[in-house]
């Protein structure tokens, strides 16, 4: 008789850590309308001091232009392993880049920051034009960018 609650307890105890590990986060980056070609965008995480932690997404087809995403390039050393499988097409003026990333819970509300670097051919690069703390209360609140990014909004 006492085994049933025990089994139930054990099952939830085993399951909970799996559930609690990661959650999907949707990052919506809306670009303002500017006069130019498609923008290369780097979406990445740094710690509270600005030290590079993890790449979330790189928008842009040709790897030879990634060096223009300055702060990200510096932090990640542009190593292939950092961004493999996390690339897509460049984002055009006025478009919104929407990506869903599975993030560890440990990264949220721990002082980590979301950075966005952007670059447009024949126009200036913007390093860290958006710096937003990754917190539960910040979810859903758009943060304005200093360059090509109109706003960044992340939701859980």
């Amino acid at each position: 008789m006492k085994t049933k609650p025990l089994v139930f307890f054990l099952a939830t105890a085993l399951a909970l850590p799996v559930l609690a590990e990661a959650r999907p986060v949707v990052f919506a980056t809306e670009l303002s309308t500017y006069n130019g070609d498609g923008a290369y965008v780097a979406l990445y995480l740094t710690d509270a001091n600005g030290l590079y932690k993890q790449t979330l997404w790189i928008a842009g087809e040709k790897a030879k232009y990634y060096k223009h995403l300055g702060d990200w390039a510096r932090g990640s050393r542009m190593r292939r392993a950092e961004y493999d499988g996390m690339t897509g097409a460049s984002v055009h003026s006025g478009q919104t880049l929407r990506v869903t990333i599975d993030l560890d819970d440990a990264l949220i509300d721990a002082g980590y920051q979301v950075h966005i670097d952007t670059s447009v051919e024949d126009m200036r690069d913007h390093r860290s034009e958006v710096v937003a703390p990754l917190t539960t209360e910040g979810a859903g609140k758009p943060i304005a960018g200093k360059g090509y990014v109109k706003s960044l909004t992340y939701t859980f």
Partner: protein, 741 residues
């Protein structure tokens, strides 16, 4: 072969190349503009540190400094929440203007590099560059061949006005286009990743983070050591990271500058490959070499002109050759027919012969006489059908024949037959055919049949010749030639002015305007479109077919199509079929006519005087020249008629031209009244004055009957003898031209 390697790429790529060239020319303005707006400090005068110091005074949040190849300094900064890009003056460190790349230029650049189409467009541009390369090389070879050798390539080129324009423009632009095409092809290959586009040297960030407090940027040793003219890019450290340093990209390579010690770490020089690439890039865009950019831009502007003129030349050439079905290649044919034609009538006869022989099972190769090959592998016999041009000279499609004949291998087993076409009323009837016949005999070839001559395109004489030759070669040849009539325009008589209607040979001036075709046979266009005259000038000829005859009669034109009407002077010949027909026309009547151009019978433009000599109806074109003498070249008219009442045409007009100086002098003689002399007598009387004019470079134009022309020629020969020249010499110089009938 050479011609095809030029015409084929030219026709295929004309539009593509025109777009690439025009956009390229527009882009070449950029480096010049940039250079004009920048002040460049002398080399060695200013270091990067100096500049950063000046900038620090004016800008708080500098993020990046860029120096373009033209020398402009661009600063990227963030002031609080505002990002900006400014072009600065290096001397003061203050902004000259906000830097905004022109969106029009960006669009033009996109169009130039990839036709606004991304990768497939880049392939198209690359193909264009390759075509351009092929065109410049083949064109250069063609020009050398035409001029008679590479050494003579700068000599003036002959030919029609379009050909001269094409050659002149091409000579000017060829080197620039060659350079632009080669460099462009290299760059396309790089961007399409066919050859490795050597990347710039990368800045290697040091493994350990920098220690120590960051120093003011203008104190850093590495920046002090770098001259401003070597700078390409300086990226400032991230504002929030005190361990970050400066990325320095110079002409020599890339390195990392420690913010606290000022030392240059991990410097990597650009690879040689990269330097080569950058050099080629500079040659193509002119960035950093603005004068080269201008030169390439101007050469590029030549491309649309070359494309249009080239297409016109090709089209005219194509139209000039008749369509021959079953034309064997030169090396496979047993019979070769070579044609010397000025106006395509001889080609018509050649086509009849060609078709008849082909029907009889022979393999025939027909070509213009200028295409005489040095050797025909399988040919057993050669037929030459040729007209004569002017005074016994070669027609256009045969003007290189005699020269080429020297290289020809003539053997006794090789048979030939020459057939000349002409008009018996000319003294040099079939003269060129006689010359060709003699030359071939001298080469050692056997005459299949003696030289034969056909008068006035008679189909019966042609059939007779065909039968004769057919018997000799064992083939039954029934040559039924139907002369092809050129396309005619319908003209309506609007006015006629008669002179000497009671004389035995009255003259009349007829004026025609274009009119609509009323019958249903006319095309839709001819019926409803406003009709226009075909293009012609005074000095050209109009061919009129009288009813009941296949042979057109030609009359010299006294007006030009710009005037909107066609004017001729006709004397009624006793028993003349066409002149009688024309004299019977009443205003409102319609005729069918076509234009035969005579571009050689025109006065040369320039300062030299023009001596116009004519008799009877020859006054028509001469008056036309005077009417169009807007530049007021000195013109002296000598004209002989019979009787002032019966044929002094254009008397009031000529007096008007005397008043407004289009005509300098008017000398008339009449053979049946007054002084009772001919025009050559008047010329003889004025010998001294004319000799003076000819010495100063005057040219002579003669229009009229054959007898007058011969008389005038003798007189002029006498006049110029003391000048150690002759009419023949003047003709060779193009200063003695005749329109004789």
């Amino acid at each position: 072969m050479l011609r095809q390697s030029h015409s084929l790429p030219g026709l295929i790529g004309a539009l593509l190349l025109a777009v690439l060239a025009v956009t390229g020319a527009i882009l070449s303005i950029n480096p010049v503009q940039e250079r004009l707006h920048t002040t460049i400090p002398a080399s060695g005068a200013m270091s990067v540190a100096d500049l950063t110091g000046k900038l620090a005074a004016n800008y708080q949040g500098v993020e990046q400094i860029q120096r373009t190849p033209s020398g402009a300094i661009i600063v990227y900064f963030t002031d609080g929440n505002q990002s900006g890009v400014d072009r600065v003056d290096p001397e003061t460190g203050t902004a000259v203007a906000a830097y905004e790349a022109s969106s029009i230029m960006r669009w033009v650049k996109n169009l130039h590099r990839s036709l606004l189409l991304d990768t497939p467009g880049r392939v198209a541009s690359a193909t264009g560059a390759a075509l351009m390369l092929l065109l410049t090389v083949s064109g250069a070879f063609m020009l050398a061949a035409r001029s008679g050798g590479w050494r003579k390539i700068l000599h003036p080129v002959g030919g029609t006005p379009v050909q001269r324009l094409h050659a002149a423009v091409a000579r000017f632009a060829v080197l620039g286009l060659l350079l632009a095409a080669t460099t462009g092809l290299y760059m396309s290959a790089g961007s399409l990743e066919l050859i490795s586009e050597a990347a710039e040297a990368e800045v290697n960030f040091p493994a350990e983070a920098g220690a120590g407090t960051p120093q003011p940027v203008e104190t850093l040793a590495a920046l002090k050591a770098t001259d401003l003219s070597d700078l390409r890019e300086l990226v400032y450290p991230y504002a929030g990271d005190p361990t970050d340093g400066y990325s320095l990209l110079t002409r020599q390579g890339a390195g990392f500058v420690d913010a606290s010690s000022g030392a240059l770490l991990s410097f990597q020089a650009h690879s040689t490959r990269r330097k080569v690439y950058e050099f080629i890039y500079m040659l193509h865009t002119g960035e950093g070499l603005w004068w080269l950019g201008i030169w390439l831009g101007l050469s590029a502007l030549a491309v649309p002109v070359l494309a249009v003129s080239g297409i016109r030349i090709w089209w005219k050439r194509r139209r000039a050759l008749p369509r021959l079905t079953g034309n064997s290649p030169a090396d496979a044919a047993a019979t070769v027919i070579l044609v010397g034609s000025e106006n395509n009538t001889t080609w018509g006869f050649a086509k009849t012969l060609h078709d008849a022989l082909t029907r009889a099972g022979q393999r025939v190769h027909t070509a213009p006489m200028n295409r005489l090959a040095a050797h025909y592998r399988k040919a057993e016999r050669l037929f030459i059908l040729t007209a004569t041009h002017g005074d016994g000279g070669a027609p256009t499609s045969a003007n290189q024949f005699l020269a080429k004949l020297e290289k020809f291998e003539g053997t006794p087993s090789f048979q030939f037959a020459v057939l000349g076409f002409g008009d018996r009323q000319f003294p040099k009837f079939c003269q060129f055919a006689i010359d060709v016949d003699a030359a071939l005999t001298a080469k050692g070839c056997t005459a299949l049949s003696p030289l034969d001559m056909i008068d006035r395109q008679s189909p019966q004489e042609f059939a007779r010749w065909g039968k004769n030759v057919g018997e000799r070669i064992g083939v039954e040849l029934n040559l039924e030639h139907i002369p092809e009539c050129p396309k005619t325009s319908r003209l309506q008589l609007v006015e006629r002015v008669d002179y000497g209607s009671d004389a035995d040979t009255p003259t009349t001036v007829l004026r025609f305007k274009p009119t609509r075709q009323t019958d249903k046979a006319g095309t839709l266009r001819a019926r409803y479109w406003p009709q226009r005259l075909p293009r012609f000038e005074a000095g050209d000829l109009v061919g009129i077919l009288p009813p009941g005859s296949h042979t057109p009669r030609f009359y010299s034109l006294a007006s030009s199509s710009q005037e909107g009407m066609l004017e001729i002077c006709v004397r009624k010949q006793p028993g003349g079929l066409c002149s009688g027909y024309l004299h019977s026309l009443q205003p409102g009547a319609a005729i069918d006519a076509f234009i035969r151009h005579n571009p050689n019978f025109r006065p040369n433009t320039g300062k030299a005087s023009v001596i116009l000599i004519g008799a009877g109806t020859g006054i028509g074109p001469l008056t036309g020249f005077i009417k169009h003498n807007t530049p007021r070249q000195p013109m002296y008219l000598y004209w002989g008629g019979r009787n002032p009442q019966s044929d002094f045409l254009y008397q009031p007009e000529l007096n008007r031209y005397l008043e407004d100086q289009r005509l300098t002098e008017l000398n008339t003689t009449f053979s049946r009244s007054g002084d009772r002399a001919y025009v050559q007598d008047k010329i003889h009387a004025d010998a001294a004055k004319l000799r003076e004019l000819i010495l100063k470079g005057a040219q002579i134009l003669i229009c009229g009957g054959r007898e007058m022309a011969t008389g005038v020629m003798t007189t002029i020969d006498e006049i110029v003898a003391p000048l150690h020249t002759s009419v023949q010499a003047l003709k060779a110089e193009g200063r003695y031209r005749e329109d004789v009938y």
